[in-house]
Structures are given as structure tokens and as C-alpha cells.
């Protein structure tokens, strides 16, 4: 940290330059913490810092106010260098009430800064969360840098005469907190002021109040003695181009729209609302100008059924859901395997089994996607590794579905869905295209709906409305070539193998598994998939910065695996597979490649911290054995 002298028009207090910061906003579900976090993110992204966010909220819309289950939090990490995760632990915790403090303190390391809304620390509120004594004075916070700020009272004071009642005025207290944090980290304010005006365009009183509260928070930081310095984080070096901040669900939605447009196919979404996938339905419902049809069906089964019907008609059928919904869609996915029609199934994983943890993240639907159907029913599976990467993963899923006439699983998760990061916006004109290659003419010798392309083994896609190609397809086993119903044993054996070979052959169209092993001397490889990419990469960067050698590889394709996967894994003494499940990829890897992979497994509904991954990896460095699953 360096302190440098101020220029005349700079804030009146000294500014310290810091390299990276993790801030966690926490409050009651009704306190607007998500919005506060998102605004701080937008301001920060605009400054050119690299950034990653992690919204962490309860499943209930409004759990009882002031209780621990009702706490909603938003964490972000921003830095002047590459940011891979939202950070293991906050450097700064903003706690809007005792419940927020109580629930977040265990993950807040000693020495951290805590900004408390003291107004909420009443005896009643303390009792509600089981604080027998006031943590502000009983020594609990001794080793933290605590700033007690009367956020509620200061907000009310600032809004006196605003024309708003007390209750409405109080609701602006999150803007006070945002103003204060914006000052503390020298964030620009124009974006937020514009945002408030737009959001409350129809309620000018409320807009004015929010602006006032924001400014009051800012000047509070500037003028009171509570905060001696403010901080600045310089922009991170990033490739040239135009950037925006984007969440995984939004990037995934856009990837599907872009892929459909590039393929010249109308997108048809059949869906049923479910956390954490509903935002995709919401987004696509607003994109009718791209020819996107969205159909909120009566249930999950009808959602995928309608999507498959649309695919039969020449649209790109899509269904979006989470694990419980996949369970209901399973039979239709099997039908799509048998019909050999393109179909995208988006599973935004959440904690399971059953209803599980709707708003928490997990990777435990991998078996469901890869194996969860009756019969030999191979389905390709693609997984994004970061929020922005959801865009590319979606485009890849569409490429496979259309080229190979197959349902494809796109396995995201709650952490990717709601988390965000800066995204180098691609040039729309140069995005890859995929040719649906519809059959439009009667081929010589007649039309065979189950004939196959020699390279891809894909069957023809001939849609209703095409004269001369009338044909019937269905879920009963069909004769190779003609597609007529067939109960012939040899034919069934052949068809099962053909469908398997078609999906296995996709491996020829995907890039080999890349290994990041800069020293070339690592004997431990960490293999991951999906959203664990960030924490794993951060852990590995940390180990390497201390001279350790460890290799990293990350799977985008879970079915089929890239062709060189076995070769890559066998080159290392030890393969460690961290997963937010009890070892699903590990079992697939062991079964497929006879590689004795070691698992590191957690199902806490939370992403890994890089610190725990560092421990897990370092436990393997230099010796060949480990304990196995955590």
C-alpha cells in the first residue's frame, strides 16, 4: 500500500492504492443488498478493474425480517490484475443488521473492516438472532476494524422533507451504504445516478430520495472522521476491446439467441419457472424481436415436449430448468435421442436431492445429464466454466445439437447463473455459424429418414412442409435407414451402437483437452469442470507464485470427453478432481480411463474457496498419497 499526496480537487482525505479488494454486502432480504452489490459492480467494472461477483441469497422471498435465514448477501472481488473468483473471504463486510453480522462473521477473517448499521442493533434485533450480549461491546469484534455508522438515522435525516413517509425513506438506506462504499473506493457515481433516475422514472420522489441517500452516504465518508483514508484500485490490464459486465444466465441466453440467429433457426423455448433458471425464460421472453418464441408451459414435461415439437418443425428447440425439472423431462430427452432431433436442455444446477437448496450451487446433476435415462441413451454434455463463458458454451451446445441432430445438455450452475464478470463483447458479425442443412429435395432412390451422414452419422432433418419427404418418426425402435418400426434383434443392436457411435464421434469435432503446465515439471494435475474453474485457477496461481508446480486442465465437454483425455491424465502421477458433489466426474474418469483419480469433494451449496483448494493440492505435492474425499 502506498499513500500519495492529493491533487487540489481530489477528496480531502489521503487515498491509498490497493491491488485487490473483496467486499461483501449483507442485510435483510428486504434491504436491497443485491441491487447495492450490482450497482457497485457496475461502477467498478466501468473503472476497468477485473471483477467477479457472487450473489448469495435465501430461497424464501421474504424470510422473517431480521433473522439469519433472511440474510441476503452479495460479494465481489475487484483488482488491478486478473480476478478468478469473487474472493474466499471479505476484506470489507457491510452488515446492515445483527443477523447479517452473525451469519457473515464466521467467513470474515480477523483484521477485516466491518461497516455496521448501528441503528439496527437494538436489544430486540440482537435477541432475534441469539446475541445475548451486544457484539459491538462484548469483545466479539475486537480484532476487526469496525465502523459503526447510523445508516438508518442518517438516511432518514438526509430525506427529511423529501415527501416520503418514514417507511419509504428508510428503504433508501441501501443507497446510503452504496454511496459510502463508493466514496471509500473512489468509484464513479454518474452511472448509479443515471440508473436511479431510469429505475424510478415513474416515481420522481423516490428517485430523488435515492439520489439524496446515495449522496449523503458519499459525503458521510468524505467528511466524518470515521474513515481516515479512501482507497483506489487501478484498472487491470485486459485485452483491448469493448467490455460489459455479464451474469452467467444472461450470457447463456445471449449465446443461445446468437447461435440460433447464426444458424438461421428460429429459437423456441418451452419452459416452466424454476430457480435458478427462470431468468433465462425472462430474458428470452423479452427478445421476440429476434424471432424468439417463449412458451411458459403447464409443467416441465410440456415445456420440453413443446420444444421438441418445435424442433420437429425446424426451430431450434430449447428447454431451461434445474435438476428437479430435468427429472421430469427425462422421458422426453430419451425420445429426442430416439428421434435424433436437435434440442438444447439447459440445467442450471442447484443443491439436491429433491427440492434441496434452490438458491445454492452444486454440481451433482452430472450423472443425471450423462447417465440419467432408460436404455442406452447417449446425450452430449457441455459445461461453461465462468459466467461470461456461458455465452461460448451455449454456442457450442447449439453447434453440436444442430450438426449431430441430438439433444445436448448445457450444464450451468447457480454460481455461474447469478455471478458476473467483465466480458469482452464479441463482434456479432464474426461469430461462428452452423448450417442446419435441411433436406429439401427428394433424394434419388427415395427418402430415408434414418440414413446417415458418413462423417457425423447425423440423420437428415426434413421438416413438415417439405413436399415428397413425408415420413413418420417415433420412440419405438426403428429400422436402420427407413425408420420404420422394427423389432429385429440385430437391427436394435445396430441402432443402439449407431446412436452411441454418433455421439462418441462428436469428440472428433472438439478441441483436445488443453493442459496448463508452464514448468512442464508438475506431477499433479488438477482436473475440473464447470464453475470450479475460477477457484481452481486461483489456487494454482497461488501455489505457483510460491514456486510450486502443478498442472491444470478443465473439461468443457463431459460427454463425449475430448479424444486426448486419457493420454493427458496418464501423463501425471496424480490427478486431483475437485467437484461440488461426491465424486461424479471422478467415477466417470476412473470408469472410462482406468485412471486412479483422487477426489476433493464438498456439497455445501457454496463454491470452493481457493484456500481450501490450495490445501488439497499441496497435500498431494511431493507425495503420491492423499486422504481422498473431504
Amino acid at each position: 500500500m502506498t499513500t500519495y499526496p492529493q491533487s487540489p480537487d481530489a477528496p480531502a482525505k489521503p487515498v491509498e492504492i490497493v491491488s485487490r479488494v473483496v467486499i461483501r454486502f449483507a442485510g435483510d432480504s428486504g434491504d436491497g443488498m443485491q441491487l447495492t452489490g450490482e450497482r457497485f459492480t457496475a461502477e467498478t467494472a466501468g473503472l476497468g478493474n477485473d471483477i467477479a461477483t457472487f450473489p448469495d441469497f435465501p430461497a424464501e422471498i421474504r424470510a422473517p425480517a431480521g433473522t439469519v435465514p433472511g440474510v441476503s448477501a452479495f460479494q465481489l472481488q475487484f483488482a488491478d490484475t486478473k480476478v478468478l473468483t469473487p474472493g474466499d473471504h471479505p476484506d470489507v463486510l457491510v452488515a446492515m443488521n445483527p443477523a447479517a453480522l452473525k451469519s457473515q462473521l464466521p467467513i470474515t477473517p480477523r483484521g477485516a473492516t466491518i461497516v455496521l448499521n448501528t441503528d439496527e442493533f437494538t436489544r430486540r434485533n440482537l435477541a432475534k438472532v441469539g446475541y445475548e450480549r451486544d457484539p459491538r461491546s462484548d469483545g466479539t469484534l475486537e480484532s476487526y476494524q469496525v465502523h459503526e455508522v447510523a445508516i438508518t438515522a442518517l438516511t432518514l435525516g438526509a430525506l427529511e422533507g423529501s415527501g416520503l413517509g418514514k417507511k419509504d425513506a428508510e428503504r433508501a438506506k441501501n443507497m446510503f451504504a452504496l454511496g459510502l462504499m463508493s466514496w471509500l473506493y473512489n468509484r464513479p457515481r454518474e452511472g448509479t445516478l443515471r440508473f436511479i433516475d431510469a429505475k424510478f422514472a415513474k416515481k420522481p420522489l423516490v428517485a430523488a430520495a435515492n439520489v439524496k441517500a446515495f449522496e449523503a452516504g458519499w459525503s458521510f465518508g468524505e467528511t466524518t472522521e470515521t474513515f481516515a483514508v479512501s482507497y483506489e484500485v487501478a484498472p487491470a490490464p485486459m485485452p483491448k476491446g469493448v467490455y460489459r459486465n455479464i451474469t452467467g444466465n444472461l450470457a447463456l441466453s445471449y449465446g443461445l439467441v446468437a447461435a440460433a440467429q447464426k444458424a438461421g433457426l428460429p429459437l423456441f423455448l418451452g419452459s416452466y419457472p424454476i430457480t435458478p433458471a427462470s431468468d433465462i425464460l425472462h430474458t428470452l421472453a423479452g427478445l421476440k424481436r429476434f424471432g424468439v418464441r417463449t412458451f411458459q408451459a403447464e409443467d416441465e414435461i410440456a415445456g420440453i415436449g413443446a420444444a421438441l415439437g418445435a424442433s420437429f418443425g425446424g426451430s431450434l428447440g430449447l428447454t431451461t430448468t434445474s435438476g428437479p425439472g430435468v427429472a421430469l423431462k427425462t422421458e422426453t430427452i430419451g425420445l429426442a435421442v430416439s428421434l435424433e432431433l436437435p434440442l438444447i436442455i439447459v440445467d442450471v444446477q442447484r443443491g439436491g436431492p429433491s427440492t434441496g437448496l434452490p438458491t445454492k450451487t452444486e454440481q451433482a446433476d452430472l450423472f443425471q445429464a450423462v447417465l440419467g435415462r432408460n436404455g442406452e441413451s447417449p446425450v452430449p454434455v457441455v459445461a461453461p466454466q465462468s459466467p461470461a463463458d456461458c455465452f461460448d458454451a451455449a454456442m457450442e451446445a447449439v453447434r453440436i445439437a444442430v450438426t449431430y441432430r441430438t439433444p445436448v445438455f448445457l450444464l450451468s450452475d447457480g454460481y455461474l447463473a447469478n455471478g458476473s464478470e467483465p466480458w469482452l463483447v464479441p463482434d456479432a458479425a464474426s461469430l461462428p455459424t452452423v448450417d442446419p442443412a435441411f433436406t429439401t429435395e427428394l433424394p434419388e432412390g427415395g427418402f430415408l429418414p434414418y440414413s446417415r451422414d458418413p462423417e457425423t452419422l447425423a440423420r437428415p432433418w426434413a421438416v413438415p412442409g417439405t413436399p415428397g419427404l413425408e415420413h413418420r418418426i417415433g420412440g419405438l425402435e426403428k429400422a436402420d435407414g427407413t425408420g420404420n418400426i422394427s423389432y429385429d434383434p440385430a437391427n436394435h443392436d445396430r441402432m443402439v451402437r449407431l446412436r452411441a457411435a454418433k455421439v462418441a464421434g462428436i469428440a472428433r469435432s472438439i478441441p483436445p483437452l488443453a493442459v496448463d503446465d508452464p514448468s512442464g515439471e508438475a506431477d499433479v494435475l488438477v482436473l475440473g469442470w464447470g464453475s470450479t474453474y475460477g477457484p481452481i485457477a486461483a489456487a494454482i496461481a497461488d501455489i505457483r507464485s510460491r514456486g510450486g508446480n502443478v498442472a491444470q486442465a478443465h473439461l468443457r465437454h463431459l460427454a463425449p470427453f475430448p479424444a486426448n483425455t486419457g493420454e493427458v491424465l496418464r501423463a501425471y502421477r496424480t490427478v486431483l478432481i475437485p467437484e461440488m458433489n461426491l465424486g461424479q466426474l471422478s467415477l466417470l474418469i476412473r470408469g472410462t480411463f482406468l485412471v486412479d483419480a483422487v477426489g476433493f469433494n464438498q456439497v455445501r451449496g457454496l463454491p470452493f474457496t481457493s484456500a481450501e483448494l490450495v490445501d488439497a493440492i499441496e497435500g498431494l505435492l511431493g507425495n503420491g498419497t492423499t486422504e481422498g474425499s473431504a
Binding site: V242, Y254, A310, F312, A428
Partner: protein, 331 residues
């Protein structure tokens, strides 16, 4: 959707061997449908039959149009997706009493509620045929089958009451063996804009033989049926339907001058619902046929509105979407 060359029944007959039991009522329905399709003057390629699972659901394999034999109960959902994304097609659903009212009951009701432009033909044999004779949701209470050796316990659905409860815009009933009547009902159903629902009484001569004999036998049928014709009195050969003092429909003996005249176009579905409650005699024909905007048209209109405001430059539009409004540039 018009054709120059007149099509014939043969054009709608596929090369697949029909595999229903000899004597099954499905044959008569297939033949009536194949013979009727040319009348629609829609090219074969623009017609699609989608079915679920059951004996009845084998139907699409035998009709030389586009077709899909899908999974148990889900045909209305699949057909909805097809009809919504391809309003240029004529989409039929073929289903059974188990397929459409048991495992797929929910999809059927929602398709009808939405008024998606599909024609649904439900073959009601009051039994599960394909799985070899268990009772179905339309089997009469006390039905003795393999799965109900002491008689079924549950009260059956009245399919027409059910779909009228969902406010289906077109509701009709016909009988497999009455080719002329079936054809006339099919004609109206297939040209109806929106969801049309036709219950077809179908004999399963293996597992529920003779279920509809009273409605078919020359000796009994005239007294056992009320043939519905719009504007004509509601009468069987021996009985009339009149308005009771409380406004409900009442069955009385004799051919009466004050018999209610059938109004298939009554907006309020409660009249048709009242009619659907009559079981002996059984009304056959079109119970209800009313106009309501179809879901696919409304969806197409929203799309057109959105597209009208959009630019022609596809990449430009996509680029603007991807960038959003809050970007920054790293130089």
C-alpha cells in the same frame, strides 16, 4: 394451403402394415380419416399427425403425412410446440382415453384452455388396450379387469364435461362405426380455428367388446342417441330435452314441441356442459363450436409487433443486444 391436383384416400395411406387386432374400431376411424383428408385440400406435406402411446397412438404410422408417435400422454404438448412455431401446418393429435385423460390429462386441458390450433381426436374405448386390458379413467365404476378383479373403485371422467370445463372452443363426439357422422364431425373439427376436441367412441373387441353397442345396434341406437344439429330440437327417437323451471336441461318422454333447439355457438359453456351430462340417451355431434383468438395467432402477433420495431440489420441488432447499455473500452 391449396392443392391443384385432387388427392385421394390412397394418397393418405402409408406403406406400413396396419397392426391392430382384426375387428378393432381403430380400423374404421383410420379409414374415415384417410378418406376425409383429401376434402381439406391441404397438401400432404402440410399435415402432421402427432400421437402418444397406446393402440390408438399407432395411428400416425398409417397416414402418409408427416407424423410423430411420441411418448405416453405428451402429444398435446409436442403438438402445441409444433403448431405455435409453424402456424402454416395443420396439426392433428391422436390419443386414447388412457393417454389423453390419465397420464396426459394435464396437457390436454392446457392445450384446450390455450386454444392452440390443433385438432385432437381421442379414441375412447374405455380401457387400456395396448397394455392388455386394465381399466381406464373412462371405465365405468365397478369394472372388472386384470388390475381390478373385484371391480374398479374410482368414478370415471366424462371426457366432454372435462374439456368443456377447460372451455374448449370446439367439442364433439362421434362413433367409430358411423362413417358418415364421423366424417361430418371431422370436417367441422378440422376446419375450426383453435383447439378442437373430438371424442370418438371406439370398440376394443379384445378387452372391452361391445362397450358402445347400444349406440350402434339398429334396434337400440335411435332411442339411445340424440343427434346434435345446430338449430334442431334435442331429441332421441323417443325422448326430448326441455328446459326445466330452474333453467337446467331435463329429459322427458315423447317428442315435444318445446324441446330445446341445439345452439352449438352458445358462448357460455354451461349449456354444452349440461348437454354433456346426458348419458342415456347419449348426445353425439358437435356440442360446442365458438370463436376465440387462437394462442398461435396471438403469439405470432406479439412476434410481429416486436419485429416491426426491430431493424433489418441482424448482426447490428445482435451486436447491440450483446453490448447492452453499460460498456467500457479498453484501449
Amino acid at each position: 394451403m391449396t392443392v391443384d391436383v385432387a388427392l385421394t384416400k390412397k394418397d393418405f395411406t402409408s406403406d406400413q402394415e396396419v397392426r391392430w387386432c382384426p375387428g378393432c374400431g381403430d380400423y374404421a376411424i383410420l379409414s374415415a380419416v384417410q378418406a376425409f383428408l383429401p376434402e381439406l385440400a391441404i397438401p400432404r406435406e402440410d399435415i402432421v399427425f402427432i400421437s402418444g402411446i397406446g393402440c390408438s397412438s399407432r395411428f400416425p404410422y398409417y397416414v402418409d403425412t408427416y407424423g410423430m408417435h411420441s411418448i405416453h400422454g405428451r402429444a398435446p404438448a409436442i403438438a402445441s410446440g409444433l403448431a405455435l412455431s409453424r402456424p402454416d401446418l395443420k396439426v392433428f393429435v391422436v390419443t386414447g382415453d388412457g393417454d389423453g385423460l390419465s397420464i396426459g390429462g394435464n396437457h390436454l386441458l392446457h392445450a384446450l384452455r390455450r386454444n392452440v390450433n390443433i385438432t385432437i381426436l381421442l379414441f375412447n374405448n374405455r380401457i387400456y388396450g395396448l397394455t392388455k386390458g386394465q381399466y381406464s379413467p373412462t371405465s365405468e365404476q365397478g369394472k372388472i379387469t386384470k388390475s381390478t378383479p373385484m371391480g374398479s373403485l374410482d368414478n370415471p371422467f366424462n371426457p366432454l364435461s372435462l374439456v368443456l370445463g377447460a372451455e374448449a372452443t370446439f367439442v364433439a363426439r362421434s362413433i367409430d362405426s358411423d362413417r358418415k357422422h364421423l366424417t361430418s364431425v371431422l370436417r367441422e373439427a378440422a376446419t375450426h380455428q383453435g383447439s378442437s376436441f373430438v371424442e370418438i367412441y371406439q370398440n376394443c373387441n379384445i378387452f372391452n367388446d361391445g362397450a358402445f353397442d347400444v349406440l350402434k345396434d339398429a334396434d337400440t341406437r335411435d332411442a339411445a342417441t340424440i343427434r346434435l344439429e345446430h338449430g334442431e330440437p334435442l331429441q332421441s327417437a323417443t325422448q326430448s330435452v326441455i328446459r326445466a323451471a330452474d333453467g337446467s336441461l331435463e329429459l322427458v318422454d315423447g317428442l315435444r314441441d318445446d324441446a330445446v333447439r341445439h345452439d352449438a355457438h352458445a358462448e357460455d359453456p354451461s349449456y354444452a356442459f349440461g348437454l354433456s351430462r346426458l348419458t342415456t340417451p347419449t348426445p353425439i355431434g358437435v356440442f360446442r363450436s365458438v370463436e376465440r383468438p387462437t394462442y398461435d395467432r396471438l403469439m405470432a402477433e406479439q412476434l410481429e409487433t416486436a419485429r416491426a420495431a426491430a431493424s433489418d440489420d441482424a448482426d447490428g441488432m445482435l451486436g447491440a443486444l450483446l453490448s447492452g447499455t453499460d460498456t467500457w473500452t479498453v484501449a
